[in-house]
Every structure is written in C-alpha cells, then in structure tokens.
Symmetry: C2
Subunit: 462 residues, 2 copies
Amino acid sequence: MTHTFELGRLFDPSSIAVVGASTKEGKIGYEAMENVHDFGGRVYPVNPSAEGSIFGASFVGSVTDIDDDVDLALLCVPAPIVPNVIEECGEAGVGAAVIYSGGFAEAGEEGVEIQRRMTEIANEHNIALLGPNTSGFVVPRTELFGSFATGVENFPPGGVAIVAQSGGVAHSLAFQATRERRGISAMVGLGNRANVGFEEVIEYFDADPETGAIILHVEGTDDARSLLQTCHDADTPVFAYKVGQADVGDFAASHTGALTGDHALYQAGFAQYGVPTVDSTSQLLDAGHVAASAPLPDGTNVGVVTAQAGPGIIIADRLKQAGVSLPSLEDETTETVNDILPGITYSANPVDTGRPMPEFGAVVRAVATDENIDAVLVYELHEAALGFPIEELDGLAEEVGKPVVFATAGPESDLAPDRTELEDAGVPVFESPERAADAVATLATYARLRDDAAPAGVIDDA
Amino acid sequence: MTHTFELGRLFDPSSIAVVGASTKEGKIGYEAMENVHDFGGRVYPVNPSAEGSIFGASFVGSVTDIDDDVDLALLCVPAPIVPNVIEECGEAGVGAAVIYSGGFAEAGEEGVEIQRRMTEIANEHNIALLGPNTSGFVVPRTELFGSFATGVENFPPGGVAIVAQSGGVAHSLAFQATRERRGISAMVGLGNRANVGFEEVIEYFDADPETGAIILHVEGTDDARSLLQTCHDADTPVFAYKVGQADVGDFAASHTGALTGDHALYQAGFAQYGVPTVDSTSQLLDAGHVAASAPLPDGTNVGVVTAQAGPGIIIADRLKQAGVSLPSLEDETTETVNDILPGITYSANPVDTGRPMPEFGAVVRAVATDENIDAVLVYELHEAALGFPIEELDGLAEEVGKPVVFATAGPESDLAPDRTELEDAGVPVFESPERAADAVATLATYARLRDDAAPAGVIDDA
C-alpha cells in the first residue's frame, strides 16, 4: 500500500486537537481529553457547542479555528459527522486522526459508505487515519495517551510494540503487560484500518529504535500477502497471534468488518515469511518480551538447567512438543558440570541439580557457553536463604550472545526483589514453566523460520 | 490398593516428630522444624547427636524416647538410615512419615532396595509413607506445613487439593495459586509413592468437606487403571495434567522412578473415566479454582457475553476449538437483550454490547437464565467510572445453578477491589481471555465426560 501521510504525525505529534472534547465525565470526549491534557505538546479541545475551558485549555469551535499546525486530531464524534470533520482537518493541515466511534464498515451498508467517503477525503489531504472503531493508541515513553480508556498512563515504557486489530485486545494486552511489569514501546488498536493498516504501523515501529519486538493480533485482512511481506521485510522480530481457528467468522465480521479467512493458510503464510505464530495473548506477550530484552538465538538447540526435576520435565516436554531440540552437551560441558557437582542427579540435557544450591549459577554458565546450545532455559524454585544466582548470570546472555531465560515460583515477598535484579541482569523471568518454555520455543522457531524464510513473492495469495 | 494405615494421621495429626531436626539454618532438618514448630499440636525434634532445644522444644534421641503418641514423623535423614528410623517409628506407634530425601527408587539398584526394605517395614507397622524424594505437603487451613520449603505458610486456605507426583511441581502450583489469590485445601507432593499413592490421597481429599476440586499432576504410574478407577469413583471433580507427551522418559525415570508410559493411552483413559485433562499448570489450577468456587455446569453449552468484540472473538474461538458449543439463545433471551440494549452490536451468542455500560449486568443475567445455556463466560475491560456489575451478579451463579465466569483486564489499582468483590459474589475472575475460556471448556468437558463415563473395568490396562 502506498501512502503519502507521515505516521510520525500520528505517533509522535507536537500538537493535538480533541474534536468532540466534553466536560461530561464518562463521555469519550472527556476521557480522551483527560488522557492527553498533560501531554508534552500543545492540546486543543474542539467543540462548537461548548464554552469555557477543560483541563485548563479553552474550547475552540473547529480545527480550522486553531492558529497552529495541528499534527493529530482525536475524533470523539459520531460516525455520520466524521467525513465533515476530516474535511475540516484537511483544510487545517492536520496530519493524522484517530476515529474512536463505531458505525462504519463493521455496521452494514450505510457505515461502509461513510467509511469510504471519510477515507477518500483523508487520502486527498494526506491524513493518516487510525480506526475507525478503535479505542486508540498509547506511546508510554513520550506519555502520549491517545486512548479513551482509563489507567493507560501506567503502561511501563519498554521495547515491545503491540499492534492489535482490535482496540479491546490491544488494551487487554497492554494491561496484561503492565501487570507483569513488562515494558511496551507502543500499543496500537487498528480497528477498521481505513488507511493505516498493519503494514504502515509495522514499518513505522520497525524503524523505531526503542522497539525491539513487534507483536501482532490478527483477525483477518483483505491483503494477507502485503501483511506477510511487510513482516518479512522487517528487521525487528515480528510474532503473530492469528485468531479464528474455529469458525467465528460472522461475529468477527461484525467487529472490524474483516474476514477471518482461512486460518491454516494464514499460519502457513506467516511461517513461510519468517513469522512465528502463537496461540494466546500470553504467549504473544511473552515472546515479544524475551525478544525485546535478550539476544535472539541463532538456532533451535535449547539447553535446560533445572533445580527441580518435576518442572524440568514439564519444560523439556513442552519444548520438544514445539519442535525444539535438546541436544547433547559438549563433553567439556558435562565434565565441567560433574566437576562442579559430583554425583549430580542428571547431567545430560536437561541438567538436573536436584536442589537449588550455591553452585547453580556456575552450572547455568557452563551450559550457556556450550557450543551446541543456542538458548538456555533455567528452572529454580526460589529459596529465601539462597536467592537467585544473579552475580553469575549478570551479563551472561550478552556475553554468549544467547537468551538466558528463567522460570521460577516462590513467595512473592521473597521473590520480588531477586526477580527484579535478575531481569535487570538481562534474564527474563517467568513464573510458570510452560510460559517460559513457550517463549523460548517461539524464539527458536523465529531462528528456524528466518533461516528458511522465502524471498519475496513466492507464496500464493493467502 | 488395600492399606491399613490411616491418612488422617498424615494430613491431620495431633503430634509431629521431626527426625534429623537441626539447628543449622539451610539444612532440611532446620527448615522442616521451622515450618512445623508452631503447628497447633505437639512437636518433637529428634536427633541423637543434638543437645539442648530448637524453637523452644527439647531434642530427644529417638522417636522411641517420646512419651506420647506420635502421629506423624518428618524424616530429614539420608536414605541409608531411613529403614532403621522407620523401624523405630513402628516400635513407637507412629502412624505416618514423610521422607524428604532422595537416593531411593529413582537412583538405581541400591536405592530400589532401600525403598523396598523401608516400605516393607512401614507396611508391617501400618505406617503411611509420603515420599520418599518429596518436598512434602501443606494443609493451609490447619497451618500444617509439612514441607521444608520457605514461604509455604502464606498459601491461602480454600477448596482445591493439589496432588502432584513431583514435590517441585506441587510447590510451583501452590505458589502460583497463592500469587493469584486462590485458596487450596492441601498441597501434596507424592514423590516416589512408596505406599501412599494417587489413589490414597484422592480418596482422602474426596472425603474432605473442605475440598471442592482435586487437581493431579501425573508423570506416570505402574497401575494406571487403579488411578483411573479412583478418579472415577470420586464425587469431587478431578482434573489431570499428564506430562510426557514428548519423549522425556529417561529424564522422568531419573526423577521419581516412574515410567511416563504411553501418553495417548493415558489421555484416552482419563477421558473414559470421566477426568478432563489439561495441557499446563495454569489450566490445571484454573479448572480447579472454578470447580471449587462455582456450581458445576450440567452440559457443554456456553453463553458468552462481551463488552469488547476482540476479546470476545478470542474466547469464542478458544471455546469452539475445545469442542464447546455456543448455542443460539432462546427467543425470549434475545428479546430481553434487545429490550435492554436497543441497537446492540451483536445479540446472538456471543452477545456483544460494544462497550461496558450500566446495563451490562442485566444482559449477563438474561443469558445466565437462558435454558439453552449451561455456563456463562463474560468479558469486560475494567473502566474505573463503571466498575463491575457486582450487584446484579451477586449470587447469580447459585441462583441459576451454573458457573458464571468473568475475564477482564485493567489497571491493577482500580481493578483489585472490584475483582475481590466479584469473586466474593461467586464469580471467578481471570485476567486473560484464554485462561477463562480454557477453564470453562474444562468444566464443560467434565460435564460431558461424566455423562459418558464408563462403568468400572471396561478399559484395557493403560
């Protein structure tokens, strides 16, 4: 898709107009205004029937009345008047607009026509349209809260760009990430994708130095090949969660007006274009988090080190089911491990130390430096007296150029400070053996698919 | 399996001896003593080479020196001397013992022989043996912390009995439950199952009025039919997580000395005997939590109500993949919903209200009372101004005799108080659409399997 708008005016604006700004709490025009009012740039509430001011800013009657270059307009007005507002935005030189309301292509013939007109006008004026039918976007690093939802000001800044077809799913993902203390570079709900689609947003965040991974929630798109090609061309790792394995087509069409399409074709297409797919929102977040915060593996060989056999078996089982290999360790590694822990419970791969112990970090280091190993997954129940082997693991991942991922469980009060230190030392920490295994398996799959990935244009239209 | 010991002396003792109690912090004999020292009954530290006292109790040289009926002995001594200690326990009339140490059947020929001797002696004296090779058990309600792990005193009391083949997995599950504020009636790590196996523990907690669901972590057992028959005979819902779908047999054998067996046969066996199986520790906990805290569904028809289409599609997709049906609603229900919300986004099943709104609770109630529906799953992003429809949902599940399950996301500070109120109102709350869907699907599967479940003895040995 070719476009002439600049997404920087959407995601990194200097000035914002809130059209339909309202003093009535609970209305979208109030919530959106509340969320952007202390954004670092200039903010203009627009409402022809309002007087006075809101959050310290005076109402103006129209975007055309603003004596300033407005980059972004947030439209909190009903569908039927949106085309006119976009026309005014065009006259005023606005560069981008978010359209929150529904009643467009997802809502039958009339809505389809409104969306067509609005998009035509926007394209004439080079206006990027996020939505319609979206709850918006957030860029935590710049405190840009272009969403009407409450609580979005606490999303922690970080390296994962969330790009979801559904605004609701975008917010659900971002709140989940926040609860688990994982940083995001942006959260974007695409909605009906009038002229800003997956492709444009992926390209933008691929070029964003703050973004280390892009995660996609996909219901369906009319041009799957274009989406796949964009993912393929991105240097940043992209992971996708394609919804609609079962038949949910009718309901999905009522949502963002998109067809869910043939699930198997999508899955195959993503694989062929180098994009691992996952089966849940948690897996999507987890893969993004590890990819953004640790080195990527060069291959699919995983070394597992566990202090408790039971969770270690769960991890090994899960990795193998996902097609990941647990190769033999080099003789040198096995010797080192046996030197560190004579009589060790199980010194193949997985390495099972039988219990947490002071030497545990040295064992992990030995496995991480093994040439047969592309990624390391560690399980250790937290023991208050011992803590985690933070010193041995600090910087290890960077040093060996492989992800080192930790899974654990324990009492929150003891665990929390050690978890923070370990994450700061470059080791992502999970509190479920399966989630850690799934994340590592997804990264290993990324390595495999990127090796195999097809060049442009060899896949049939999905 | 017939046995003559009493598991009440293990899980509900009046007096405990800690054999190998130690004043050295970090040693199992210290940690176990610390965990039980202010247990409500009498506690005796036993160590022939220690003098003085520990946690206010005087050391004795042997269990035979204790002038009291000792119900339970916690053995913190190495494998080779365990048979002799069990012999002394027998002389002293001890009713049950937990053997923490490894070096038994999981560790080669010599260990197999030690385990055989120990078990023979225990059986002669009617002593129940938990382990060997386990980190123990916990009964939160009576503050009985028969584990040597730290932090177990914070497990919240509740209705789920965790029965895990691996002590490490038992603890991992209990810490996960604690982190997610879910109560457990007991956590049991079976280890090598010398004479207390799945069957005995399931029977015990099936008869426990505090236990509303039993969740099993299974690596493998020599007598699968006996396990299956016990699950089948239990009135309490049982859910199982069978590990070992991929080939992890060697490593598993090194763990609790058990074969993982043929995974597909186990899965089929569980299904035939009325036990839903799950694929992760989270799914296991989630199914147990809902079964213990809400009415069980009578069938597999689920009604979905969502305030945001995107997460609703994820839920519908996930439910359908799990073989759950989303039937049409009764005409009366559709009319009621359309009366409550004229112009509603999607009034089939799922019902999509498009946004959270004050009428949301009334819509959920309408679907819950629909005769076509056996269970209700609701998704609503939390909005601070609106909260959850607690008043409308309070007691609804009991009233209609169906589980009503909520999934949400939102900022923790706003969400937490509403979540607690909703859970107190009888509505389990999840913060991931997939986890809620998986839990409801597992309960629906339980209803289906219990209808179909085979009578005793019709399955081949698995």
